[in-house]
Symmetry: D2
Subunit: 94 residues, 4 copies
Amino acid sequence: MTTRGYTATKDQLQTRLRRIEGQVRGIERMVDEDRYCIDVLTQISAIQAALDKVALGLLDGHVRHCVTKSAAEGKSEEMSEELMAAVGRLMRRG
Amino acid sequence: MTTRGYTATKDQLQTRLRRIEGQVRGIERMVDEDRYCIDVLTQISAIQAALDKVALGLLDGHVRHCVTKSAAEGKSEEMSEELMAAVGRLMRRG
Amino acid sequence: MTTRGYTATKDQLQTRLRRIEGQVRGIERMVDEDRYCIDVLTQISAIQAALDKVALGLLDGHVRHCVTKSAAEGKSEEMSEELMAAVGRLMRRG
Amino acid sequence: MTTRGYTATKDQLQTRLRRIEGQVRGIERMVDEDRYCIDVLTQISAIQAALDKVALGLLDGHVRHCVTKSAAEGKSEEMSEELMAAVGRLMRRG
């Protein structure tokens, strides 16, 4: 098995992702029921916040696990470039 | 039936939401398969971008449909307050 | 004089902008004094939050003032397109 | 002198910050001249993008310089916590 930054908290991560999947289905139901636009938007913001939380957890595990390892292996430069690209995508959202 | 800002584009909206739901399930699979943290993060950024697009589409319909109506009814103030609160939540994500 | 969505709150807006200008100069001083990276980043986040607040205030004035006017003139479509482009830029930041 | 993650690129960083300061003054002028709300908002988005770039540069230097050092000193946990707090503030903007 490959060990990742999230391996130790994999169950918690999957629980969060399944909850987010449920939230997306919840929005599909709201649209089916012709709910008010602003209420649908509020739910989208809630999903965005939940995804940000998941992303920060993954980044945290990545830094603790992989960055430390790559520092020991003298690969800090590549690792940092890759990490910054990921943070940049999260800040600009895609 | 209640008409909403998204009524005219409801099918397209549901298609997008189902695709986003599929993207979340895709991330669950990536985690199951112990995929590299940075690749999981890239997918999360893609979902955030897709949700932003859905949110902008909903805002657009809301402004065209509801804001115009409320302007005609002299309710611009309440409508604008509600709209700004929604935009603020989207900018800060939740 | 041209009336804008921010005309009524112009003084408050200028005060906020001058404060933000001062915050940017504060960061230049921190860098001069070789302050800790994370503390500099915290100040950058504070400026971003202050700019978001200014942006939301401008959007609010724009919606109350210009959007209402354009609705009355039957130009809701152009106005909404322009507004959504602006909100999109604020969400993705540039 | 204290060495920071940005020490090697300090001149470039100061140049960018002074340019951002000038952009903020540019917005003050636009407001003075009663320029169109949407044009002011476009400039605010440009400043946000420039600040994001500065923040990413600072994060990059911090990770290469300080994170590597703290990994060597067995302080990865504190460092990662602090880094994630900073990234979280940048993602939510304040």
